[in-house]
């Protein structure tokens, strides 16, 4: 019954090919991958529940990321520093995520079957609103308490905000050097803790209901499960996890490009979880862990590989963008495709 999952295998092969041509040292790549792992894994984790709930890939995790950024920005505007600031930003961000997640969930309940395209459009819409609030609203509607982040025109937040206060606030806790490899043990444990919480959650009664909804909404409904409520819950959780993921991401980077930091997080995360062996209809926590490692190792080596093969690093960049989109495309075609298209399908139904 066990089939070999092709996605991780092919990513591994691509990675080794890339590693060979990039001529990068394994230690360097390993260090980079560990950094990427603690930086990105929680964001990817946010995709698990919606896939289990049958809503496909939740491209609206960018909205969760934006909630985190909004939280941080408001805390910076209020000028709360240090750990207290970081924690209150996280709480604020989760508050936003819960509210927005509820709205997104309501919305997706009305577009059953087209959730993925809807989440993409919701992401774009949220991006517009986010820009409207911080590029136009700050200094006009929102009083500009913090003049450091104000644009010179007197309206709008600057596109780059320094997060020196929060930089590596978590990463620095309990770092172990193993030869040349640096392991931020606390962060790795934190990420794994997040993973375990999600894995635990799937095995609770609610988790069972989420699974049931993901299998077949009609049947779940008939069996007495409140499908719409479950789907809204899943959306709220997904956005909240994404929000925390973005908080971790930003404190790791330490610089905050206000209007682009959330940019491609949806596509990269989606490609990562699929690389780990998840499908549009099935995902597990281990797909997240495996996927982040595989996808990001390929991501790290491909520009250098491009440089060495074609004498052009840009080709490597295009290659990795292509890989990200192509991974999703292939997953869509394989998972949503019907192998044999019958001439027609009508269901004979009693009235």
């Amino acid at each position: 019954m066990k089939r070999i999952n092709l996605a991780p295998v092919s990513f591994l092969a691509l990675f080794f090919g890339g590693l060979f041509f990039s001529k990068m040292s394994v230690i360097f790549v390993l260090n980079e991958v560990i950094t990427r792992f603690i930086r990105d894994a929680v964001l990817v984790l946010a995709l698990v529940l919606p896939i289990i709930a049958g809503m496909g890939i939740n491209f609206a995790i960018v909205v969760g990321a934006m909630c985190a950024q909004a939280g941080i920005l408001f805390i910076i505007i209020a000028q709360i520093n240090g750990i207290a600031g970081f924690v209150s930003a996280a709480f604020l961000g989760i508050g936003f995520s819960a509210a927005v997640g509820y709205l997104v969930g309501r919305c997706l309940n009305r577009v059953k079957g087209k959730e993925m395209i809807a989440t993409i459009v919701i992401g774009m819409l949220a991006n517009g609103v986010y820009q409207l609030v911080f590029l136009v609203g700050y200094g006009t509607v929102i009083p500009a308490h913090n003049r450091e982040i104000l644009l010179s025109t007197g309206k709008g937040v600057r596109s780059m905000v320094d997060l020196a206060d929060y930089r590596n606030i978590l990463d620095r806790i309990w770092v172990v050097e193993l030869g040349d490899v640096t392991i931020p043990v606390f962060m790795v444990l934190l990420v794994l803790a997040f993973c375990s919480v999600v894995a635990y959650f799937v095995n609770t009664r609610i988790g069972q209901q989420i699974k049931a909804v993901g299998q077949d909404t009609d049947t779940a409904e008939v069996l007495g499960i409140d499908v719409n409520r479950i789907r809204i819950t899943v959306m709220i959780l997904s956005l909240a996890i994404a929000c925390l993921g973005q908080m971790i991401y930003l404190q790791n980077i330490g610089m905050f490009s206000v209007y682009t930091a959330h940019g491609n997080s949806d596509i990269i995360s989606a490609a990562a979880i699929l690389a780990g062996g998840a499908t549009i209809k099935e995902a597990r926590v281990r797909h997240v862990i495996l996927g982040v490692f595989l996808f990001h190792s390929l991501f790290i080596v491909s520009p250098q590989a491009g440089q060495h093969i074609f004498g052009n690093a840009a080709l490597g960049e295009y290659f990795r963008s292509f890989v990200a989109y192509a991974t999703i495309t292939v997953a869509l075609i394989l998972n949503l495709g019907t192998r044999t298209v019958p001439p027609m399908q009508t269901k004979v139904k009693d009235q």
């Binding site: 209901q209 299998q215 049947t219 001439p343």
Partner: protein, 529 residues
């Protein structure tokens, strides 16, 4: 005995269609109550109302009362019904294929680790899978089934799925009424026989059972009472005690009116045999034809009858190649190629499907467009600028033809530009016929031409079919679950049973012959037993 479930004056409409008309039904504790009726008689709607199916609320709810143990209850959602102690075994299985048998059986009632439960509450406590598996296995063993409950339901054989579905319902504490919707449809005879004592055992525990099946012999075997639905009304309530519970009575009640005025005046001169079905089989889910062999003569009107599930509907679909087929169909001694529906139409064979609204019409388009559509595509009629596929539709000749058709068929409409979706069912059917006639077909296959059509319009549709047959010499194959309809217009009627031609009768045959044939019995058998 006391009644557990009592339905009073249940009515339900979908838009303008009244599907249930003041239905009363009483189920006693420990009673097995049969519910039978043809396709479209309203059975499924009634069951959906009892179970609080979301489709009912979305289409405006129901009227009438549901009383459970004498108390009035409102079924607004499946949760309500399940809470109240109702359970249902679904015909198409309400199982989740990716969950294991144990997970399916214990869904919503999982065993929880007590520590986590105290700490985090019911919803967030960890599920105790080992105990779930053990308990699910125990319930299945009560049904006489030994099964590894960690197998995913999607991988189970059909008959095992049926038991898992049953196990989920009876594993529930506080079950008062169990609805079995076609529980034996997926089982072979042996398995079906094994199920009967289990159902009787459940009834002995004081659970009220509603048993729905197309296999009338089963219903007669185990039910204490039988309610027959037809066209949304209770037409018979037969009791074992009264001694009137027999196949003939039930079948007669199901198929309806027995006094019929023959429309077809005498047998029209039937021409030569030109079309032959040889071991024709259609793999249509739920309506499989196993073997259909028949010769059809030029200019006759052939009726195809049968209870639903016995394959009568699949004839037209199979002929057009909508589902995989085996065997041969010969037209003028040449084999019909049905790999592509246009090749069938090229042989002047036209099919009007039973799903009139979604497959027989373009509801958003006008009468003109509907009537000329197929002829323009296949006969190159109603075109100008003959440029192959780029020929323009000639709206002038189309309009004139549509007007003539409206007159010929007596279609009631504002004008020929009215949207077909706005017409009544009968007029929509006439538009379908007009579309078929524009093709000048040699063979016209119509499925359920009178379903969802009121009495007056029925007559008009028969007239139209007879006129098409008489004036144009079109051979008509009419598939219908309404036997009275077929008897009015057909030269001969074949009765399908379990996917095969069971009997060939004439419209002069006695009602009892028909009703027996529908249940797979012959007059002689009946007399012998």
């Amino acid at each position: 005995m006391t009644s557990v479930l009592r339905l009073e004056r249940i009515s339900k409409s979908f838009g303008p269609y009244r599907v249930l008309k003041s239905v009363d039904l009483v189920v006693d504790a420990g009673e097995i109550h049969g519910l039978v009726g043809e396709n479209g008689s309203g059975k499924t709607t009634l069951l959906n109302i009892i179970m609080g199916h979301p489709a009912i609320q979305e289409s405006g709810g129901y009227s009438g009362d549901i009383l459970l143990d004498g108390r009035r209850v409102e079924m607004k959602s499946p949760q309500d019904a399940i809470q109240a102690g109702l359970g249902m075994v679904h015909q198409e299985f309400a199982l989740l294929p990716g969950l294991t048998a144990a997970q399916n059986i214990k869904l919503g009632r999982e065993n929880l680790h007590p520590f986590a439960r105290r700490l985090l509450g019911e919803s967030l406590a960890y599920v105790d899978r080992a105990r779930d598996r053990a308990e699910a296995g125990a319930i299945l063993r009560r049904l006489g089934i030994e099964l590894d409950t960690s197998i995913k339901c999607g991988n189970l054989a059909v008959n095992l799925k049926q038991y898992v579905e049953l196990a989920r319902e009876i594993g529930r504490s506080g079950l008062r009424v169990l609805i079995l919707d076609e529980p034996t449809a997926a089982l072979d005879r042996e398995d079906a026989h094994r199920l009967m004592p289990l159902i009787q055992k459940l009834a002995c525990q004081g659970i009220g059972i509603i048993f729905v099946s197309h296999r009338l012999e089963e219903v007669l075997e185990i039910c204490h009472r039988i309610t027959v639905l037809r066209d949304g009304e209770v037409v018979a309530d037969l009791d074992q005690g009264d001694g009137d519970l027999n196949l003939d009575a039930v079948a007669r009640a199901m198929i309806g009116r027995s006094v019929v005025e023959m429309k077809r005046k005498g047998n029209s001169p039937v021409g030569t045999v030109f079309m032959k079905f040889q071991d024709f089989a259609v793999d249509m889910p739920g309506e499989m034809i196993r073997n259909f062999s028949l010769e059809i003569s030029q200019g006759e009107i052939l009726g195809v009858a049968g209870l639903s599930g016995h394959g009568k509907l699949a004839l037209g679909y199979g002929l057009m190649g909508a589902y995989p087929t085996r065997g041969r169909v010969l037209v003028d001694d040449r084999e019909l190629d049905n790999t592509c529906s246009s090749k069938v139409l090229a042989k002047d064979i036209c099919f009007l499907p039973d799903e009139r609204r979604c497959s027989g019409l373009l509801l958003d388009r006008s009468l003109v467009e509907n009537i000329v559509f197929t002829a323009a595509q296949h006969k190159h009629k109603f075109l100008r600028l003959h440029l192959g596929p780029l020929s323009m539709i000639n709206w002038k000749s189309s309009r004139e033809y549509a007007r003539r058709s409206v007159e010929w068929f007596g279609i009631r409409c504002r004008d020929v530009y009215q949207q077909v979706g706005q017409l009544s069912g009968g007029n929509q059917q006439k538009v379908c016929l007009a579309r078929a006639v524009a093709l000048e077909p040699r063979v016209l296959v119509v499925a359920e031409p009178t379903r969802g059509v009121d009495i007056g319009a029925r007559e008009a549709i028969f007239e139209a079919l007879l006129r098409i047959n008489q004036e144009r010499g079109t051979t008509i194959i009419c598939v219908s679950s309404d036997l009275a309809d077929l008897k009015q217009i057909c030269d001969r009627i074949v009765v399908m049973y379990e996917g095969e031609v069971f009997a060939e009768l004439s419209s002069h045959s006695q009602d009892v012959e028909f009703s027996l044939a529908l249940g797979g019995k012959r007059l002689a058998d009946n007399a012998a037993s």
